[in-house]
Subunit: 718 residues, 2 copies
């Protein structure tokens, strides 16, 4: 989807062009006429021959030529006819500014659906309705009724802003203008009848004017489309800084009360951003800061940060920030440190390097330290903190020179400058590809975000195979004749085992005699459970017993379970007992999967056992997934630490966990919409590997109106 007619129209028609520039149909006329748009402007108004001093036509049909873009600013009831005319005329794109659609209720939603149908039927791009329009800052195209551009425009630049919300879009425009952020495009998507934020991101991937994308999302109707667009952007090396509101429960409630969109669970969005290499911002200020940084600077190729400061205390503050951000502070090479010490006896040559206020007398020492740090190869990024000196006129040339010398010495190095600078010096330093942040910790934060973005690249653009390499061909795909419905635990474990996900050793037995035999065979440490396809929570009805010490206790337990279940769940089919070896795990995990109508196959990985209730710690993965993503989640969940050496335990290799999650995710992806529920809790991790100690599996036929699971999952991949 290139959206060329929307983003770069050579001619624009305004339907509902008004004489009054304060009106929704008048403002775009004024903005296009006054602010330098060089394409052709056509005005449509059946009641006037002239509007704002320009000729007006009675209808789109009456136009002598076909414009690229129609801006529709008529009242809601007239929009459908206007859009149909645009389609009939063969216009490439339409922006519907008018409100009164899905946001006002069911009738509006139906009207909006008709707009979408018209656009789809004619191959026309439709933006809106109920949006604030677009701007192309390079082409002075202001296809909006926001008066904001009249008060001044941001510089043309390489950053595109795409916002679902018009109010946010207007605010962002003003912030960009005030903060000196150069923009390529500004696009608001409103009700998203046909064109979503994801579609716009996808189009901007192919837009040569755009190198960085700021996206503001309230909720995505098509999560797979969002994933696809973010992955394409990452593959093209265009960072997407995304603000998705509704992180917390309170926020999600607020989002539901105000938007017509489906607001998905936040952890799912987080998974999408993590897995596609998108950069999430939690404040507006941070979104702009990171946008500016990605547009200006060089991402560090690793985590080794060098800090040179004129204030030891602020150096410490930056070291704190670097540590929080996961960056390392390797020392300066010994020879460089020695020479520095010779030049300033009281400086600190550790990293942070403190050249002290001495630079006001002998500035050369800053050049020496910075150039040597750049040249020595010990650092991927370098931050210079010059405090208030940057405000003094005499130093501006010196600073710019330092930055130029550092860039020459190490062109691939990521470089940031912090301190008070004039707007002029800021621009000069930025022109050398140097980040500039008044707050020193912001320089560290930006560099860390850029490093993560770069490092995530290879994995984010990797296409995870639905069949991981670790899985044998024999178990690659679900069997042709899938079981259906809620499986009993034995069948669930067997199904998972057929896919290469091992279970704890167990036997399915019919009666107490067989249970005793199984118990002996399993070594005398076992769990006894009722088997029934009708019982999800077996322990609630007395269907589980542990700690059985001898045959007598086992027989007694069989009888008790039968009696309890019969009494408490008389409808449940009783299909004998499961006798399973009791494992002594180092860690208990939980692993679940579901098919999300918006986002497709998802996997939930978390700490299992007591943690699930007491202090839930889970993380979502989009499926299929990759080893790097699984390892990152295991790290974040604290699982890797638990597998390490503590209290005399030998370390446990995480590879079997990673492979199990890969298989589980691949299975979820392959099952597609036929997946109702899969959950393993606990998944036991021992020194011998992993084993499912319980399984809930429910499968069903995929809904009729969806393509088959596997094709669906694969069609998402770029």
């Amino acid at each position: 989807m290139t959206l060329k007619a929307l983003l770069h129209p050579a001619s624009v028609a305004i339907v509902g062009a008004s004489q009054n520039p304060q009106k929704i149909g008048g403002m775009p006329v004024r903005l296009l006429a006054e602010l330098g748009y060089r394409g052709t402007i056509h005005l449509i108004n059946p009641a006037a021959e002239e509007v704002q001093g320009r000729r007006a036509y009675p209808s789109l049909a009456a136009l002598p030529t076909t414009p690229d873009l129609a801006i529709i600013a008529v009242p809601a009831p007239a929009v459908e006819a206007a859009l149909r005319q645009a389609a009939d005329k063969g216009i490439g794109a339409a922006i519907v500014l008018s409100s009164g659609f899905a946001e006002v209720g069911e009738a509006g939603a139906a009207a909006q659906q008709r707009l979408a149908d018209i656009a789809r039927g004619s191959g026309m791009t439709l933006l809106g309705p109920n949006c604030l329009g677009t701007m192309n800052l390079r082409e002075q195209l202001f296809a909006t009724f926001s008066p904001a551009p009249l008060a001044g425009r941001p510089e043309p630049g390489a950053v595109a802003i795409v916002s679902q919300s018009g109010a946010f879009g207007g605010y962002a425009f003003s912030l960009a203008r005030a903060g000196g952020l150069g923009l390529s495009h500004w696009i608001t998507t409103g009700n998203e009848a046909a064109t979503s934020v994801a579609d716009v991101i996808d189009a901007l991937v192919d837009d040569d004017d755009t190198r960085v994308i700021l996206a503001y999302i309230e909720g995505a109707r098509d999560g797979r489309r969002l994933q696809q667009a973010l992955r394409r952007a990452r593959a093209a090396g265009k960072p997407v800084i995304v603000t998705k509101v509704g992180r917390t429960d309170a926020g999600a409630r607020a989002a539901m009360s105000h938007t017509a969109s489906l607001s998905g669970e936040d952890s799912v969005y987080q998974a999408v951003f993590d897995d596609t290499g998108a950069v999430r911002a939690t404040t507006i200020e941070q979104m702009f800061r990171l946008g500016q940084a990605f547009a200006t600077g060089t991402p560090p190729r690793g985590r080794r940060l060098g800090i040179i400061t004129v204030s030891g205390g602020v150096g410490t503050l930056m070291a704190d920030a670097a540590s929080d951000a996961g960056l390392a502070l390797p020392p300066l090479p010994v020879a460089v440190a020695a020479e520095l010490k010779r030049r300033i006896p009281f400086c600190s040559t550790a990293n942070p390097v403190d050249v002290t206020g001495q630079i006001t007398a002998t500035y050369e020492v800053m050049d020496f330290a910075a150039i040597e740090a750049a040249r020595c190869g010990a650092y991927d990024g370098l931050v210079l903190f010059l405090a208030a000196a940057g405000g003094a006129a005499g130093f501006a040339d010196k600073f710019e020179n330092t930055v130029r010398l550092v860039r020459e010495a190490a062109p691939g190095l990521s470089l940031a400058f912090s301190g008070i600078v004039s707007p002029d010096l800021r621009r000069r330093l930025q022109a050398h590809g140097c980040l500039v942040h008044e707050e020193p910790t912001h320089a560290i934060e930006a560099m860390a975000a850029m490093e993560r973005w770069l490092a995530a690249g290879a994995d984010a653009v990797a296409v995870p195979s639905p069949v991981p390499e670790t899985q044998s061909a024999a178990t690659a795909m679900p069997p042709k004749d899938l079981p259906s419905g809620l499986l009993n635990e034995v069948a669930g474990l067997a199904f998972l085992a057929s896919q290469g996900i091992p279970a704890a050793p167990h036997r399915h037995v019919r009666d107490a005699d067989a249970a005793v035999e199984a118990w002996r065979a399993l070594g005398g440490q076992a769990v006894l459970k009722i088997v029934s396809p009708d019982l999800l929570h077996k322990s609630d009805v007395g269907g589980v017993r542990v700690g059985l010490r001898d045959e007598e206790e086992l027989r007694e337990a069989c009888a008790t379970i039968e009696a309890c279940v019969a009494a408490k769940a008389p409808q449940a089919r009783r299909e004998g007992f499961l006798v399973a070896r009791r494992l002594d795990p180092r860690v208990e995990l939980m692993l679940g999967a579901r098919w999300d109508p918006t986002f497709g196959p998802l996997v939930i990985l978390g700490l299992g056992g007591v943690a699930v209730e007491l202090e839930p710690r889970t993380s979502v993965l989009t499926a299929p997934t990759t080893p790097a993503r699984v390892r990152a989640r295991l790290q974040a969940l604290g699982v890797l630490r638990r597998l390490g050496v503590w209290r005399g335990h030998a370390p446990i290799d995480e590879t079997p966990i990673v492979e199990t999650v890969l298989r589980f995710a691949a299975l979820a992806a392959a099952l597609g919409p036929g997946l109702r529920t899969m959950e393993i809790n606990p998944l036991m991790v021992t020194e011998d590997g992993v084993a499912a100690a319980d399984a809930v599996v429910e499968l069903g036929p995929p809904p009729q109106d969806q393509p088959s699971a596997t094709r669906q999952a694969q069609s998402d991949l770029p």
Copy 2:
């Protein structure tokens, strides 16, 4: 300590006054002469009769009168003589700008100590050496060699900045100027030979020009003095916003490499800030932001926040931020919501209230919503988000009017405005006591910080009694004949029990026969341990056995323990066995105490058992402490959640834990410097209360040069 001569001198002498205003002795002359200081200026230079066009005297002694303040700017070797002259002259305060003291090594440290001795001997206030001096913005007193004031000064205001670091101080001065933060004083303390940041905070508590204090600390030599000053400031209702660098290990390493101060453990500083109601900032920007907020606004009297926005999406973002900050978002009263809906049918009347972009047409609805929200009593704080509208000239008067109406309707309400505003409108809104933040989440953060500060007040200024009320008089104080040295576990448990801290039921026995008898008496579920005053880690030498099922196993265990300990620790005295009932705790805690030479008595509370090694979670408390502080720590550590209802457990009341921590802290405070170590790990929490299941206690005589423990601890209290 009033520091009046330092903060408000009516006359100043500059020792080492130089003709060259670029020099350390010349800049203060220029600044005082040019920038409007109205006191008397005396210049001292033995080699010149005139300096920068003013008469110079050969020495302080030669002055016809006695100035209040001497600024000493001579080279390090000449400082001592100059300071002695100042003392002889009876001068009230001296600022030593010169460097070359403790920061350059031992000889410098000795010279610095002599300066401190001179000052103490004469009752003179001494600031520095190696500091950047002071400024009094109201009195145009610039007693500094920083050239920064020449480029412009911040407005006089109610915020004081005190910084240990001169480089940071200079940076902060420029930030205050650029950010429009009004200052009263600006003070840098440098090497702190005699006057520390804590001393300055203490003096500012009594300074009428100062309402808010921004403090930058690298490390405190006298932590008890810092606690005392912070507590006095809180009692006086003057917020202290403190940046203490070295939060992380990397930061602490950086701090150690550059400062001559002792940098204490960060968690101890955090405890001090928490317990005294100081507000910690982690970035410089945040310190200024919070300083401005406290200087401008009204702290909310509770956590109920109302949000009125023109953008539903940004409302959601603010709801996220409020949730992160622990603020609640109660709904608008039904009648107000209904009236709002009548006026703007498509607005959202939940909280956040979204009045939509409609306000550009009918602004009155914003007034209605804001005033009704203020008046209804449902909120402690109100945030208005107006996006970019604030930049439009036509709206400035409307906004100011809204703010005025809200202030009239509810004078005690905390009020914040977010959006783009001109500097002029910012000042106008702030004049009404309204916070102004461009970034909406910053408004939420500031309000939450003010709420926490206000709420912490009563507890922060409370003087915790060294003898908590929950403790009976009989066990109020440590026995006169304290045991000494490392106690064996039995003695340790007995000592704690004598102070009201219960132990798990146990018996101390000499041999296996007695062990069997004790085992029976304790109900047959017991832990067996060697007793020895020489073994800190008994399990390392085979000195602990659990899971003993019968008498035979117990006898065998006694023999094995004897043999193991004799083999692995032959020097250790063996004093029989401890047989202790094995408890089944809901939660295991750890509780430790130590005497810190800088901060006095400290208590460490944390999760016990496996968590100590795997995922340590601890929190420090200054001792003695209060129930509110202990409860806050239990909440933060996740203990309260573990005591709640989960997996069918009945909830456990936390009161016995709180009382035990209070007693433990009171004991630590009473023991004073005689406390070497006290540690209980684990402290078992069961439905029946708490019980120490292990104890390490080591006591010693207090060092000779310290006052007695109890007097020391009590003398800290205000």
